[in-house]
Amino acid sequence: MSANKPVDESITFDTFMEGVWRQNPVFVMVLGMCPTLAVTVSAVNAVSMGLATLFVLVSSCFLVSLIRNLVPKEVRIATYIVIIATFVTLVDYIIQAVSLSLYEALGAFIQLIVVNCIILGRAEAHASKNPPLKAVVNALGMGIGFTIGLLALGATREILGAGKLFGFSLFGEHFQPWVVMVLPPGGFFVLGGWLLLFSFMRSRSEKGVAHE
């Protein structure tokens, strides 16, 4: 019913890379900042949060895409939210079963994946208009892009704020940790730094294209 215009159904490399690079959720679209800033105090937390979001994103996009022609458009948002909430509940149980200390470290942010705008955004903008396989490939790219973004923040904050990476000490006994980096303000500093780097690289590559 939504096929008013023919949709390009071919899966290209760009379908996948869109989320990783061109439309990276953290560095380009600046979406889902709540978990991004809150849980990235260590690389392990960042990767776990990224993977949890990736799982929810891929599974819900698959299901949304599968039933895209059955759902009346009046109730589509409600349907998407129910589907997303289901997979978040699944992730919630799985993380508790894997590690309770990780569960406590991530806290309420696991449940808050439900309202992560990346996921609803993907469901509405991509999965509801594309066949399942393409939707999954695109969601996978977005999820990996989000995980990379979180890891970049988490690793930087852990190295600067605790002198460690994935829990391993990097600098020995005499390192004086830059504590503010693992506190909330540090999240903003590091995010600002990464955004600066990315927009600098973007503007350079745009200039490069203009010169050619």
């Binding site: 059955l70 909430a85 605790a162």
Partner: protein, 223 residues
């Protein structure tokens, strides 16, 4: 005359059927996940409690949950009753009572600091603490787990009960750094007084409540 714009509407029953279908698929998924992870989660919780108790009571090998109420002590089944106090009895390899562990909580600098303390029945004192959860400033408040001088306070912190069995003989008190004189005082960490006080107040509150209920019945725990 203008033609009325055709409005496309979906009949209500189709919406209800779709929503119902999606909701039931999701319900099945959630129930499945709950059923299949339930055992692993319960197991994880048990391991977490054991690990915390073994840390504050070195040499323990087995943990049982009990509840102390004004009418005596019973093994914990289900929820903690009103006025009751949950504690853990730890036994060594041979099955002898090694000590008691209980939780204490006090308002710290950022949030509630929750600690688990180990109680030795012979010396009637606290012989170790471990942090259950806290959000204190890293590098300042978290010294309560790393500062050896602070942890030395909990090698033999006196929590004897008074002769009437109504309260502690001496309330646990946090004193200024370097001025500890009695066995029931805690020497605060210089620069992390708020967190030190949270630990001290929490332990005092918990021990004041638990010890008078527990000490008269301590023999029942021995096998």
């Amino acid at each position: 005359m203008t033609e009325p714009i055709p409005v496309h509407t979906t009949p209500g029953n189709k919406m209800i059927i779709t929503m119902g279908l999606v909701a039931s698929i999701c319900g099945v998924l959630i129930v499945g996940a709950y059923e299949s992870t339930q055992d692993a989660i319960a197991n994880n919780k048990r391991i977490m409690v054991e690990r915390a108790v073994f840390k504050v009571l070195p040499g323990a090998a087995k943990v049982n949950e009990y509840v102390a109420t004004p009418s005596g002590i019973q093994p914990l089944t289900g929820n903690v009753p009103e006025g009751g106090m949950k504690f853990y009895a730890a036994y060594d390899q041979a099955g002898a009572l090694k000590g008691i562990a209980a939780e204490a909580a006090g308002k710290g600098y950022a949030d509630i600091v929750r600690v688990l303390y180990g109680y030795d029945t012979q010396c009637q004192c606290i012989i170790g603490i471990g942090v259950v959860s806290m959000r204190e400033t890293p590098g300042i408040g978290d010294k309560i787990i790393t500062d050896p001088a602070f942890l030395k306070n909990f090698e033999a912190l006196d929590v004897r009960v008074n002769t009437e069995m109504t309260a502690l003989a001496n309330a646990v008190k946090v004193v200024k750094h370097g001025s500890k004189q009695n066995a029931w005082e805690i020497d605060a960490i210089a620069g992390a007084t708020v967190t030190s006080k949270a630990v001290g107040r929490g332990i005092n509150e918990s021990a004041q409540k638990l010890m008078p209920l527990l000490v008269p019945h301590i023999a029942e725990l021995k096998p």
